[in-house]
Chain length 673, copies 2
């Protein structure tokens, strides 16, 4: 296959500058080895691609997408056409790679850009995809044209399993959300889409064998098998595996609505109207349960070709088991002292069913038990310690705990959490059992409107943790590149950046949101626990509050942090003025925000924060003055401000201020008596 730009007159810029700027590294994730060289490869409409050794529709699709991104970023008209020789980019791929991508798929690639042309070499199509993604991240401009800097990149991932989980159970997410998520994942080289498809709140995948699963257990919101196949194909086209999760034996109320005979209690059952650990649990003592599961897994195995299948296995509270005399008798007969042992029995019976359908089992921490086959993979929502325990027992593991997006940690915090922390005491052989990690987007508090803003760009920072060498840990540099990556992700149609303004317009009922945007810039959402204590959201709660509009880890916090640190280190008049201008901007926004709150009851729910802001801003202004002038604050001033800050830390109104730790530093830096 050959591509070449058609010759089209474009209202144009002039030839490239004679200057040849070097590589400005905005790559994310950071490749294993980058060697910058001299010179640049100009990007023009004559850009052409030639595939040298192995070609396939999948590779062609990846090339088409990469050319589209080049085209959009550099304003190039690139039409398929017979290629010039030599082509601008020559791709040499040894072969297709695996028919069904496994954890062993070779994703390495070698990319060399010189002023004469670029070459991309890989063993597999997936490797070529990764290299093409890197290539599109290299685009730079010198102001009068676009180019690729000369560079040599040798790259391969650190971890084999780099996942992102979406919980479509608690809130259904339309196919469009899933597809654009896959685009985002491919852009940052994530390779496993873990699809949590069943929950107490909904059964989200069509079964033709058991139609009442969605017919009665989904509220009409589920994926058809055709849609699921489309997702699998879309993912495969991007080098992403799809691992479906069917959570058993607990988190399974939705199974029981249509098939109460599967349950451990008499029923009838209804879709759970609340989140959290529910009682509804499959009956592990009946053969009919396993016959049902066998048929269901068989049906799903035909849709999801991945060698792994996730069976959940978490948070089975054993309540219904203990309450059911028949099940209690079964436990006694089998000498099971705890319901955990009964769950292991369940898993032991599940394992051969999965094996029969060609699947290896993945489960959350609770499945971990030496009685299970050694090919079970444990996904740890409890943390690295739990992961290490599994490895010590010989089980492969995936780390999830530090990457729960609804904990609302900053990108920086999650970035520094490593599946194999520096200085780990795990023996090297056990370290090899750590397959990687997964970003987890649980579904309690997200819908199609908000989910992108919770996933991105933070997931890109975690993706770098999974791909790049362990030594890549510079948080500031990560944020520098993340800012660029966020713009690239937006070009894929992800709504993480546009969401806030759109949501503020809904809240204000107006497109005049300038003041609200200033207010929103100092706010962030509460985490799951804090929010549930404030609001107790259910599957029917609309996500239309200010806490749903504002973004996790907003840039304003980091900017303020940097400004305050610099000012404390060198308290210049200019530094004080800049800080004060920032605080004054906050205060100036408040009257208009309060006016809009008067007209919008929904927005007015956050009124307490608007009322707190001016005093906090004033604390900052005064602190800046005291520090810059070297004056002692009046007696009691400092404590008063710190009390103000402490009071403002209290979670309320579904939003929190992001700047309080930084403001505290500033107040504490004021000369004391």
């Amino acid at each position: 296959m050959r591509y070449l730009a058609a010759i089209v007159l474009v209202c144009g810029w002039s030839a490239l500058s004679a200057q040849t700027p070097g590589l400005v590294n905005t790559l994310m994730p950071e490749p294993a080895h980058v060697t910058a060289a001299r010179g640049t490869l100009p990007l023009t409409n004559a850009f052409s691609v030639q595939v040298a050794r192995f070609d396939s529709p999948r590779l062609e699709g990846a090339i088409r997408r990469a050319l589209r991104r080049l085209s959009m970023q550099a304003g190039l008209t690139l039409a398929p056409a017979p290629a010039a020789t030599p082509a601008t980019l020559t791709i040499t791929v040894a072969g297709a790679g695996e028919a069904v991508q496994s954890i062993g798929e070779d994703e390495s690639y070698d990319l060399e850009v010189t002023p004469q042309g670029a070459t991309l070499t890989s063993r597999t199509v997936v490797g070529a995809m990764r290299g093409l993604t890197t290539l599109t991240q290299l685009i730079q401009t010198g102001g009068d044209g676009y180019f690729l800097p000369a560079v040599h990149i040798e790259d391969a991932p650190r971890f084999r399993w780099r996942g992102l989980m979406i919980d479509s159970g608690r809130h259904f997410e339309p196919v469009a959300v899933i597809l654009r998520t896959l685009d985002g994942m491919a852009a940052v080289k994530l390779n496993v889409f873990h699809w949590h498809l069943t929950e107490d709140q909904g059964f989200r995948i069509e079964s033709k064998v058991f139609p009442k699963l969605t017919g009665m257990g989904s509220n009409g919101q589920f994926y058809t098998q055709a849609q699921a196949r489309e997702v699998v194909a879309y993912a495969r086209a991007r080098g992403i595996r799809v691992v479906p999760e069917f959570d058993m034996p607990a988190h399974s109320t939705s199974w029981l609505v249509g098939y109460p005979e599967l349950g451990s209690a008499p029923g009838p059952f209804a879709i759970s109207p609340a989140f959290g650990v529910r009682d509804g649990t499959l009956d592990p003592t009946r053969d009919s349960t396993y016959q049902f599961i066998d048929k269901f897994i068989g049906e799903m195995a035909a849709i999801f070709p991945d060698p792994y299948m996730h069976i959940g296995g978490d948070e089975s509270n054993g309540k219904e088991w203990r309450a059911n005399p028949r099940i209690a008798a079964f436990m006694r007969a089998h000498h099971f002292a705890t319901t955990a042992e009964l769950q292991t029995y369940f898993n032991q019976r599940l394992a051969p069913i999965l094996a029969k359908h060609g699947k290896k089992m993945v489960g959350w921490d609770e499945v971990l038990n030496p009685a299970l086959p050694k090919n079970v993979v444990v996904e740890s929502w409890r943390g690295v310690k739990s992961l290490a325990q599994g490895a010590a027992l010989g089980y492969q593991g995936i780390l999830a705990a530090p990457y729960y997006l609804d904990h609302m940690e900053t990108a920086g915090t999650m970035y520094l959490a490593d599946p194999i922390p520096a200085g780990t005491s795990m023996p090297p052989a056990e370290q090899k059992l750590v397959l990687g990690g997964e970003v987890c987007m649980w579904g309690e508090l997200v819908d199609a409107g908000t989910i992108d803003s919770r996933m991105w760009p933070r997931s890109a920072a975690i993706a770098e943790r999974f791909w790049s060498p362990a030594s890549v840990t510079d948080v500031n540099d990560m944020y520098r590149r993340l800012t660029v990556e966020s713009t690239r992700l937006e070009a894929l149609g992800l709504t993480h950046r546009t969401h806030e303004a759109a949501a503020l317009r809904q809240l204000a009922g107006s497109s005049d949101i300038g003041a609200l945007q200033v207010f929103a810039s100092v706010l962030a959402p509460l985490n799951l626990g804090q929010r549930q204590r404030q609001q107790h959201a259910t599957p029917f709660t609309p996500f239309d509050r200010l806490g749903d509009a504002v973004r996790p880890d907003p840039a304003a916090r980091r900017e303020l942090d940097a400004a305050i640190q610099a000012f404390i280190a060198a308290p210049t008049a200019a530094g004080a003025a800049a800080l004060k201008a920032r605080f004054q901007q906050w205060t100036a926004a408040v009257p208009e925000v309060e006016r809009q709150m008067d007209a919008s009851p929904l927005l007015a729910l956050a009124r307490p924060r608007a009322e707190q802001l001016p005093a906090l801003a004033q604390a900052g202004e005064q602190a800046a003055d005291f520090i810059q002038q070297g004056t002692d604050a009046p007696a009691g001033w400092q404590q008063q401000q710190l009390d103000l800050i402490s009071a403002a830390e209290k979670p309320q109104t579904l939003v929190r201020f992001t700047f309080l730790p930084e403001l505290r530093k500033l107040v504490q830096a004021v000369p004391a008596h």
Copy 2:
């Protein structure tokens, strides 16, 4: 079916105010009859719905969506539950309506809101859907809670065929775009999605009978049959018909790539790399062509149940027919003097094939010929005159001409174009043949990123033209309601409002776009003809220019127009100051815009506009001063400014200034010597 909100504690606002504000009409389209009454119906978590007579999954889905919108707008937690008696909203539907919705479907409804409750009555489920849409547009707030104002609405559409066409042929649009378009259509009561599926640039619908149609004619970008069925189901769930278009005998190059034997020239054929009228045309002289079409139409008829099928029929240039000796001989043998007669022969053979598969024919103007059966519907891209000619011959017609979105007319202009203009000379019997109209989104210059911003909110204004009484023609009131509707449409996930900021971030490579937004607010895209003369876009041209970012008919133009008119009428000092502040804001933005242009070659393509702006702003400032001070301008000043304005009117850089007519008025209002 009954719905009731679960009782959930929400951090809340107090009970409704004792004041009972009346109806603030933001309905769009304007109903046929609205009678405001006294009082309000508060919206609380106890809001419940009861369906009194006829129920169906389709009605339940519509209710679920309406409750979702109520819930999101008013912050309500509405969970399905056994209903209180009486319910807040009682829906009485006489029956399902048609199994396959036709142009005869009854869409009328009666909606009454009183302080005690609301009742919605309709003959069909589609009528109930229209009423539910109106209900959600009634939501208001008095500042301390949300309510529906007491009102009685009796409503039915003026026209039966209220369409929106998307051309997926010239540029493929992902399914996600189609689905959200259907959501937008339902929100403004459009009822026909006309899907232009084949073009010279691509064959976009999978045929299993003729796999080379997409296999060789689509560049891999097409809808699977499963996806097409999903679109049809999604549309039906919203009371929208799907009329597919397979353009024949011209605009058909993509058919010929895989099946050259269908062509009128020897081939081989390639997907057309250029837009416009192409030569590739089906061979109307061979029986094998009709056998192919018969099989293909039969396959499509099973996917698209609508009684109508659009066969295009436009812009057949006859070139290949004249050039082919065999076809020329056929014409002589049949005494066809023109290729138009041969096309009529083609259509005459097509008609029974469509009839055999249960379809009536729709075609563009060119199919119009008395030799065709009288059940053919003519869609007029040529205008009302052409429509009237068809009616005079007894053909039903649909008006498309004034609603071409790529002509970049304002919402106001398109709004005033009526399929049956006031004072028409058409006899009443012929007026009845005018079925309605269609918004047309042609595909030359849109992709998935830009298409929403071209369709919305302008399509909502046209939708009102098709639905509301002919007497509803107040443009200012339309714009007032359109602004509100635009926010409601954004809540559906449409990107018409977020697109500009997202695109500016791509252009600037930065999230710091304040100055760019000011610049963009005075710009609009060129229309198709102007743009093609500037750029000559092809299917491979990226839509990544400033002209793709800025929106058609931006609000800033209307605001300025109103401000200038008011100022000329009463030239106060405050008015002058306000105008000058606006002009100064433009000028102030330019240096930052130019700095960003220095760093972005793509953005810099619009540099001439940035260079023109300050002088234009200065003209406005000076004019405001002269007028307010009552001073004559210096000799030559006025002509100089008018020359400046004329020069700035020249289409270039893919963007035009929107404010030049208004600025001209201001300059001309300066006292002359």
